[in-house]
Symmetry: C2
Subunit: 333 residues, 2 copies
DNA sequence: CTGAAAGCGCTAACAT
DNA sequence: ATGTTAGCGCTTTCAG
């Protein structure tokens, strides 16, 4: 492990001259600077970021906190966030809470102790009360992919207009002529999607009966199980709105397994637009979330906050949009 | 930011007494220890890991280097590795090289500067020459999911018997009665799978003709494109072996799109057994890699290396196994 | 333009 | 049992 001090000795100069030469900060005679740089290369010098972090009180690292990696939605976000912050010389550490709030606290404590510069916290990965505590301690935090009515005012966040997303799903199904529609939703996390959906149905004069609303927990399996229940009803829905793609995927499996056709017998619409959705059989109609946009806004908001940009928007709402593929059609006549 | 020094002042003791009380290392009067602990809690003390790392010359952090997160195979590995090392109080930082060797070097330099304690490097994420350089510098490294003939001897690695995996795929297809089988493979990364496959075919007296071997790059899209080409041949194969599940997935899409049936007209077998494979239509027959096992072995090997366990196995080969689902069947008569 | 010195917060001998 | 001291490697005044 060669340090600036080693270089200084060999070069016959002071420690700080080496530091200046290496970082290009102070002012150093061009000749000696070249000599030092040359030496650094020869001796295989590597700056010690641990030491630098300690003395500068920052780590150029942000944390991305998410509830799981099993849902491909999150890896997609990770890629996007990482690509952006890397351009600003920040590193990303991802922190997987496994939907476990206690574990989340534990891990967060570790991150704070490591002097992570800022945090992007994805929805359902942490309890809001904990987050508020962290914010009070002065940690730069931006919430991402939370329901916008869920967080306290004044907290930086970029989220999706989930209410609108629910409306879009309903609109699409209504336009196709569906009147008997079931919903699979992960309450309370996805409450807004449900509300938006219901509002649109109500406006069309077709309130959603409670027995047509099934609970899921955002996984494939839960979508599958919920649909099984739905299909046991005496009167079947002609369409199913699953509040995320993975559950829609599970719903599709249950429907097909029962020998029914998608979309001829039952239409299915999801929400997310993860990569595989385009390749299901049939390809999934879904309300897409602009993931790259989400990641970009969150990253930039956080970076701004870290660097003390007081005059940035504190929050931002991105619009979902409909992607029509082949899992939805007119109801059977 | 309250430090041990702050606590020391308030408690009216020395810095190191506080340190001892907090870490439980030295020997401290039980009464004063309780007082200090109490104070630490009240004052909201958080150990500063940056400082600790600097003084201890270690960070309790390992890096998991992988080529992408788009292939769900990797998130699955991440979850497994992370779960294991967390139990040993290590943190994982994932490093995504995006299949870009130059970027990989850049990021690796950063990680080294951060004093990451050890590295798990997944196949195709880095150039072997670079890795050898790092190992010479004394960095604890274990290779994971590389072709075992690919790495220099003496390098710690846990990999899959990919040759055997190729054989298993061929065996299965041969047993079903297939004689005209195409292969989609990402050379050179997947060379061993191909060789194993070919060896088995040869043993059965049915060498694989070159025009039945298409190149892919491990993505869904490449599997799709390769299959398009295959299906343009005058004489169609009755089965396709794709050297990973994502390509098999693409192959399936191409076949179905052409109006052919899987498996009645063309059987498809993949390799990996990622989570979604069980839910494709039809569910994908595949040669499964024991991902949890892979992650566990790699993590433990690395941890052993970090802690100077000289007497550990330097490498380990795990066995793949066949998972028969519904994408393979007898060839059409 | 250069170097000495203090400090970041913690650990680890070594005295007391 | 407790305190003193010297680092860890780097940054950052501030004199020379």
């Amino acid at each position: 492990m060669v340090t600036i001090y080693d270089i200084a000795k060999v070069a016959g100069v002071g420690k700080s001259t080496v530091a200046n030469a290496l970082t290009g900060k102070g002012t150093v005679n061009e000749a000696t600077r070249q000599r030092i740089l040359q030496l650094a290369r020869e001796m295989g010098y590597r700056p010690n970021l641990v030491a630098r972090n300690l003395s500068q009180h920052k780590t150029l690292t942000i944390a991305l906190i998410l509830p799981t990696l099993v849902n491909p939605f999150y890896p997609e976000i990770v890629e996007a966030v990482e690509n952006i912050v890397r351009q600003h010389d920040y590193q990303t550490v991802i922190c997987n809470t496994h939907y476990d709030f206690a574990l989340a606290r534990e891990q967060m404590d570790r991150l704070i102790s490591r002097w992570i510069d800022g945090y992007i916290i994805m929805g359902t990965s942490m309890e809001l009360n904990d987050i508020i505590r962290y914010i009070k301690q002065g940690l730069p935090i931006v919430l991402c992919d939370w329901q916008e009515n869920e967080s306290a005012p004044g907290i930086a966040q970029v989220s999706v207009d989930f209410y609108r997303a629910g409306q879009i799903a309903a609109e699409h199904l209504l336009e196709l002529g569906h009147r008997s529609i079931a919903v699979i939703v992960d309450k309370p996390w996805q409450a807004l999607r449900l509300e938006g959906f219901q509002s649109m149905m109500l406006a069309a004069g077709i309130p959603v009966p409670v027995e047509m609303i099934e609970a899921g927990n955002s996984t494939f399996e839960s979508g599958y199980a919920a649909t099984k229940k739905l299909l046991a009803h005496p009167v079947l829905p002609t369409a199913i709105f699953a509040a995320n793609d993975l559950m829609a995927f599970g719903a599709m499996e249950a429907v097909l397994e029962k020998g029914l056709r998608v979309p001829q017998d039952i239409s299915i619409i999801g929400l997310d637009d993860i990569a595989i959705s385009a390749h299901l059989r049939p390809p999934l109609t879904t309300v897409a979330l602009p993931k790259t946009r989400l990641a970009k806004e969150a990253a930039e908001l956080l970076l701004g906050q870290i660097n003390g940009n007081k005059d940035m928007q504190v929050s931002c709402l991105v619009e979902p949009y409909l992607v029509v593929r082949q899992s939805t059609a007119h109801p059977p006549t």
